[in-house]
Point group: C2
Chain length 197, copies 2
DNA sequence: GTTTGATTTTCGAACGATCGTTCGAACCCT
DNA sequence: AGGGTTCGAACGATCGTTCGAAAATCAAAC
C-alpha cells in the first residue's frame, strides 16, 4: 500500500502547484494528468472527482496549519507571546507551502456540499483559535472590533500569495516579524502600553 | 448615444455582481445574459469578449479608486494624515463597491495580453502612490520593509471581500478607522512615537 | 403626420472546441 | 492465476463565439 500513498501524494502536490499557478477552474483534468505524469483516466483511480481533488488538498493543508499552530503555541504562556507565535507560524508555514496555501486561500468558495462543510469546519476551528488568542491579548477591545481585527490579520497573512517572492529580498522570518510587529503594535500594545501604562 | 451607454453600464454592473458571487470562470456568458436581461448574442454588441468584459470592469473600478484616492489626499499635508486618508478612502470605497472591488482583487490574474497590461499599469500607479505615502510617513524604515508593509496593508484592505458583511455590526467608517489604527500604530508610530519620542 | 430608407440594436440558432467523467480491456506484480 | 493499477477511447454536456436576419429607432421627404 505504500506505492499507492506515494502516488496520491505526488498527484496532490502537482495538482496544488498547477492550481496555484493557473487557478482551479481554468485547470483541466488533462492539465493535471500532464503535470503528474499520469493518464487522464488513471487519476480517477486515486480521486473521485476534480472537486474531491481540491478538497483533499485544502483539507490536508488546513489540518497541517492548524496542528502546527497548536504546537507552535506550546511553551508560550504570555498572551502576547502566544499571539506572536501564532502569527509567526502562520506566515512561515504559508511561505513554506505557498502552492497549497494559495489554493486554500484563493479557492475557498469553490467547494460545495459535504466537501465544503468538511473544510469549513477546520477553518472555523482555526479562526476560533485566533479569536481566543485575541481575547486574551486584547481583553479590553470590543468583540466586534476584535473579530474585525482577526480578519484584518488574516488578510495581511493570506494576501502573501499575491506578491511574495520566496527568492526575493525579504526572508520568511523577517516578513513574519514585520507582520507581527504591525499587528501587535497597532492593535494590542496600542491599548495596553500607550494608553494603559 | 445615451441609451447605448446606459445599457453598457447596466451590463457591466450586473456582470460584476455575478462575477463577485460565482467567480469569473464559473460564470457563463449565458448566466450574464440572464442576469442582465439581454440575449446571449446581444451582449456581443456591447462587448468584444468575456475577457474584454472583465477588463472593462477592472479598468473602470481601478481608475475610480485611483482618482478617488488622489482627491482624498487633497487638503492633507502631514504625511501621517495623508496615509490615513488613503486608507480610509480605500476601505470605504471597497465597502461601497464590493462587487467590483472583489472582481478586481480576486480575478487579478485572469487577464492576458494587452488587457492585462492595461490594468496592470493602473495597478502599478496605485501601488506607487501608497509607497510614496509610506516613504514620507516612515522615512527611517528600510525600503524592503516598507514595500512588504505596503502589501501587508493592501492585504488587510483587499481581504475584506472574504468576510465583511455590509449589514453587519461594524460600519465602513469604523472598519476603516480600525485598519488605519492597526497600520499606523504598528508600522508608523511605533518608530516615530515610541522609539523617537 | 405619414412614408420611406438607412442605421442602430437585438437575438435564435448553430459552430467547433473543450470540459469532467466513464467504461472495459490491458497491464503489472506477486 | 488473480487482484491491484493503468489508460485509450469515447460519452454527453457546456462553453465562448459567430452569423444572418428580424426588430426597433431615427431623420428626412412629402
Amino acid at each position: 500500500m505504500r506505492p499507492y500513498d506515494e502516488r496520491l501524494e505526488h498527484l496532490l502536490a502537482q495538482a496544488a502547484k498547477v492550481f496555484a499557478e493557473a487557478g482551479y477552474h481554468s485547470t483541466s483534468m488533462r492539465d493535471l494528468a500532464a503535470a503528474s505524469g499520469m493518464s487522464l483516466a488513471g487519476m480517477y483511480y486515486y480521486v473521485r472527482s476534480k472537486e474531491d481533488l481540491l478538497a483533499l488538498i485544502q483539507e490536508r493543508c488546513f489540518t497541517a496549519v492548524f496542528d502546527g499552530a497548536r504546537s507552535a503555541l506550546d511553551g508560550h504562556s504570555d498572551p502576547q507571546d502566544r499571539l506572536e507565535a501564532f502569527i509567526r507560524h502562520h506566515v512561515t508555514f504559508f511561505t513554506a507551502h505557498m502552492s497549497e496555501m494559495k489554493v486554500l486561500s484563493h479557492e475557498s468558495s469553490v467547494l460545495s456540499g459535504d466537501l465544503r462543510r468538511k473544510v469549513n469546519h477546520i477553518k472555523r476551528r482555526y479562526v476560533d483559535l485566533l479569536e481566543t488568542l485575541l481575547k486574551d491579548a486584547a481583553p479590553d477591545e470590543r468583540p466586534v472590533d476584535r473579530s474585525a481585527a482577526a480578519y484584518a490579520l488574516f488578510g495581511m497573512m493570506n494576501w502573501i500569495y499575491n506578491w511574495y517572492d520566496p527568492a526575493g529580498e525579504i526572508d520568511p522570518e523577517r516578513l513574519a516579524g514585520l507582520i507581527a510587529r504591525i499587528f501587535l503594535g497597532g492593535f494590542v500594545e496600542a491599548r495596553s502600553t500607550v494608553h494603559g501604562g
